[in-house]
Amino acid sequence: MPGSPRSRTAPAGLVVALQRLGVILSVLWAAATIAFVAIKAIPGDPVAILTGGENVVDAAERAALVARYGLDQPLAVQYARYVAHALAGDFGQSYQYRLPVITVIAEAAGPTLQLAGAAMVLALGLGLASALVSAGRRGWLRGVLSGLELVVLSTPVYWFGLLLIVLFSFTLGWFPIIGGDGIPALVLPAVALSLPLAALLAQVLRDGLEEALAQPFALTIRMRGVGEAALRLRHALRHAALAASTLAGTLFAGVLGGSILTETVFGRSGIGQITIQAIRTRDMPLLLGLVMLSALASVLINLSLDALYRRIDPRLRRAAP
């Protein structure tokens, strides 16, 4: 269960909305502050990034750059300025790309969303399929599937991606990895990214299914003469879905973290690549922007999940008067 105070009484929508806005803002502020402190604690020279690569610059030019980006101000001033701008949605200019942070992130978001979306769909499909056919059954199929899941979860993702490329693209020639933005070139990276997620989902869904199938209602339904497939699909899955939905945050992180490695291995552009570049080059504005946006995304996901729970799970609805 994601931790959110559920016993809260909610008299009016407005109060709830205000409360939640307060939570969002304080989380964002905390995330921004932690990120700011962390980044300032990291040694690094932003001017080297600003001058681009070969790093030949005279002292006067260096001073001008430092002044222009406000790097000569006291830390408190830099912090205040940053938070004020960030709350207004202005994350400043990336040192490395010399473009507004928002622009850089927006450009990178496209390919990552494509990859993440495809991987999510695949992961859900594979995970569901594996759980549905094997839950509550003892036999070789379940053994093989759970064994495979365990192997996938125990193998480094990046290494797995490389093996997929060598096997399916270079040796068998089934899928190109070059080919721009076409669907065929998306297959292998999406598979590489989705397998660990699918394995995770399958295990959790199987647990949920088995729990549901063991409950008295399953027996009642079976006695009514409903087929096993229908029982699983219509009734038990609903229970399992509730269990799996607590994984949303984990999946989000899994896709984001996995995309860093996947994008590197497959040479794709996207959020993962710019994040790793931002860390490496101390591109503070970009990094702060990325932290803030992913914090925002995760807060929003969790809030909407809370709302969703109340709809799916009647017990929670009853709990709230």
Binding site: G3, S4, V27, L153, D207, I260, L261, S294, N302
Partner: protein
């Protein structure tokens, strides 16, 4: 890490459907785990070769009688590097897991028992950190502290605190809602005593199991750091570094990475199965 925790989070003791790998009990995974322990304590028992001895006459030699796992691009014995890497990788994995557990218990308790406003924010912060890829958090810690085995350990540990914190928090809430805490409250026991005597011991019990499984995951995260190029310092042999180095020779000398990767996967699987076995064992003793 969070992946594993999420599974465990779902695996409650009352669930009784042993997967096939549970049937051999703890014996099968114990064998590789014992081997790992020996390799960690006394690598010399497995190999007489030094992990960093360069031999320019035996570059990229395939596996054979002289070199069981072959040699790498500098003629170093891959098996010796794997064996000596075991010690470092497992130490990093264990240390990171301990750091994560300790941090997770503190944060999880606070997120369950602090005043409501602090609690709400802590809960959301844990959510935020859960949604932020561990590998990125670990990278940030590495660039802040610098590289080296100790810092890799810290980075991996710190980055997985959130997962443990969430688990501890949900356990605490369960315990608090359980009958005997209500009973203790009714008996008028002071809050501090209740927390120390009842809540903490009960809430942290499942951590043993989770930490076993988390250990395997910590090893994987440390290896991902090496892949990105920010793991241990060369020429130190560490599992992740071996995989990362070997990937450039995937077609000319696959043994440099395939054999270590197999060792890593088998180790992680063995540790995970051991953890799940423990889980079942504890569940059984709870039930009786």
């Amino acid at each position: 890490m969070t992946d594993m925790l999420a599974i465990i989070d779902r695996l409650r003791p009352d669930r009784g459907s042993p997967a096939p790998w549970h049937r051999p009990g703890l014996l099968v995974p114990l064998v590789p785990v014992l081997l790992l322990a020996v390799a960690t304590a006394a690598p010399g028992l497995f190999t007489g070769l030094a992990p960093d001895a360069i031999d320019t006459d035996a570059i990229l030699a395939p596996p054979g009688p002289a070199h069981g796992f072959g040699t790498d691009q500098l003629g170093r014995d891959v098996f010796a590097r794997v064996v000596h890497g075991t010690s470092l990788s497992l130490t990093i994995g264990l240390g990171a897991t301990l750091v994560a557990c300790a941090g997770g218990v503190l944060l999880g308790l606070a997120a369950a028992l602090a005043p409501p406003v602090v609690r709400a924010i802590l809960v959301r912060l844990i959510d935020v950190f859960l949604a932020f890829p561990e590998i990125l958090l670990a990278l940030l810690v590495i660039v802040a502290l610098g590289r080296g085995p100790a810092n890799t350990l810290l980075a991996v540990g710190l980055s997985s605190i959130a997962g443990y914190a969430r688990l501890v928090r949900s356990q605490v809430l369960q315990v608090v809602r359980s009958g005997y805490v209500e009973h203790a409250v009714a008996l008028g026991e002071p809050r501090r005593t209740i927390i120390l005597r009842h809540v903490i011991p009960n809430a942290t019990r499942p951590l043993v199991v989770v930490a076993t499984i988390g250990l395997g995951h910590a090893v994987l995260t440390a290896s991902a750091l090496s892949f990105i190029g920010l793991g241990v310092v060369p020429p130190v042999a560490e599992w992740g570094a071996l995989l990362a180095d070997g990937r450039n020779y995937l077609d000319t000398a696959p043994w440099i990475s395939v054999l270590p990767a197999t060792v890593v996967a088998v180790s992680v699987i063995a540790i995970t199965i051991l953890g799940r076995g423990l889980q079942d064992l504890l569940a059984g003793s709870d039930g009786s």
